[in-house]
Amino acid sequence: MEQLIQQIASGLANGAIYASLALALVMIFVSTDHINFAQGEMAMFSAYVCWQMMQWGLNFWIALPLVALGSFFAGVAIQRIILQPLHNAPVLSVVVVFIGLLTIFHSLAGGIWSFTIKEFPSPFPKVVFAGSGYLGSHQVGMILVTLLLLVGLYAFFRFTPLGLAMRAAAQNPASARLVGVRVDWMLALGWGLAAAVGAVAGAMVAPVVYLEPNMMASILLYGFASALVGGISSPGGAVAGGFIVGVLENLIAYFGNLLEKASGLYLIGNGEKLSVALVIVIIVLTLKPDGLFGQVSVKRV
């Protein structure tokens, strides 16, 4: 029983990271209908920059806002310079650009910081608290930071004029232009926010998976799965999806282990966790293409 609770708790912690990455994916998807395959590598690069700043002696809590801000402007610049000229291009061209970005960030990180694995210290103090038998302080910190991020973004979209303009632009670009919203800039802003959210996710997960250019590959896959489970058009759904996927993968591995112990039959275990994510993607896409919380997309013919 204790082990089960522990698995669920650490699933929530992993889920927090999937949730942030899913949130970043949704941010770009709702306004452009594109899935940014380079999201993970961008987050990885931001994490490296954060690490570098800490190497230079900066405190993590000063470095992270700086990196998030820098990533925001980099995201805006990528949209304005690379993707804006492609706004009428077929989807496939955009996908090629995403793959190009992925490769560029990957080799850039490897080139600058080498491909050897680096340790990334946890920014959260090691304290003993009630329930610390189930969750480490870093895991609790990850969950809190993710929830904080979500609340902040929710408040931004819900209560600020700029957030409202971004929602309008995402929903109906033509109408948004007719009320004076600068739609192209709203898309760039969406990219900036996604990059900043990704930067936070990268810095949060780096102490867990260690710093290396491939660190986000599997996490991005979980991020996709989370976004799809929650509904790729719903930010709240993406976060819920993240936690669901995080807990689900741990539970499946846990029950797989139980089964093996009880009957000696090895069906599924820790090694198959990643495949679980893919299976989830396929099941969701088949049964509920709009996700658990997604808007059903209807097009008038």
Binding site: P161, A165, R177, G180
Partner: protein, 237 residues
């Protein structure tokens, strides 16, 4: 009288297809004109061309300044409120948010608040629906919202694309009655595109009849209305 809008030799294209060939007309400060004609005559395209939504050539002057080639959002910010065909309300935003998003371009906060009170006075039904999602409104209410949203921009010129489309006759009458009030009270000039010629001619002071992308007839609304030959050959009633 000073001209608010002067369009001369307007041509417009959808890809390689030319939709407008030579459209010229002008609108007085505070006036109302209507573009009439059959489906596909180029009425909506003319409105879209004025707002920079389609590729267009020719001269478009707002208050003596050329707005041809400008981006839609910049033209809108000069005081052009376009109520598009099909209303174009933000279905998943609340009525209140639909109004607020239009007000966010305004620099004068106090004026925006006054305009908000004004549109809610014109369309009291929207007041009761402020927190409701726009997509749940009836067709007539959505049209009222679309007009209100355009008014929240504090426009000098309103472009109205078939405000009567798909609505019950009683609702249409009410909307036209309020549009007349808006024109009289706030002095907003209007360029109205309508299928319902009789209704449009009641509201407008000048009418232009379009046929396959060209102005084929123009005149005072009263004259067009009373001329049986024009009515028969161009307007079909």
């Amino acid at each position: 009288m000073a001209k608010l809008l002067e369009v001369a030799g307007l041509k417009a294209y959808y890809g390689p297809t030319q939709a407008l060939f030579d459209v010229s007309f002008s609108l007085d400060q505070g006036g109302v004109i209507t573009l009439l004609g059959a489906n596909g005559a180029g009425k909506s395209t003319t409105l879209r061309a004025i707002c920079g939504m389609v590729r267009a050539d020719g001269s478009i002057q707002l208050d003596g300044k050329s707005i041809g080639g400008k981006a839609t959002e910049d033209i809108v910010r000069l005081g052009v409120g376009h109520v598009p065909e099909g209303r174009g309300t933000f279905a998943r935003l609340s009525v209140d948010e639909n109004l607020r998003v239009a007000a966010h371009v305004r620099k004068d906060r106090a004026a925006a608040l006054r305009d908000r009170d004004m549109v809610l006075e014109y369309f009291p039904i929207l007041k009761a629906r402020l927190s409701q999602q726009a997509g749940t409104l009836s067709g007539g209410e959505q049209q009222m919202l679309a007009i209100s949203r355009a008014l929240m921009l504090g426009p000098r010129l309103m472009l109205l694309d078939e405000p009567s489309f798909g609505l019950a006759p009683l609702i249409v009458q009410e909307i036209f009655r309020i549009m007349r009030r808006i024109n009289a009270e706030s002095g907003v000039s209007m360029l109205l595109v309508e299928q319902n010629a009789a209704l449009a001619l009641d509201l407008a002071d000048h009418a232009y009849v379009l046929e396959t992308g060209r102005v084929v007839m123009a005149g005072a609304a009263a004259v067009v209305k009373s001329d049986a030959a024009i009515r028969k050959s161009y307007l079909g009633y």
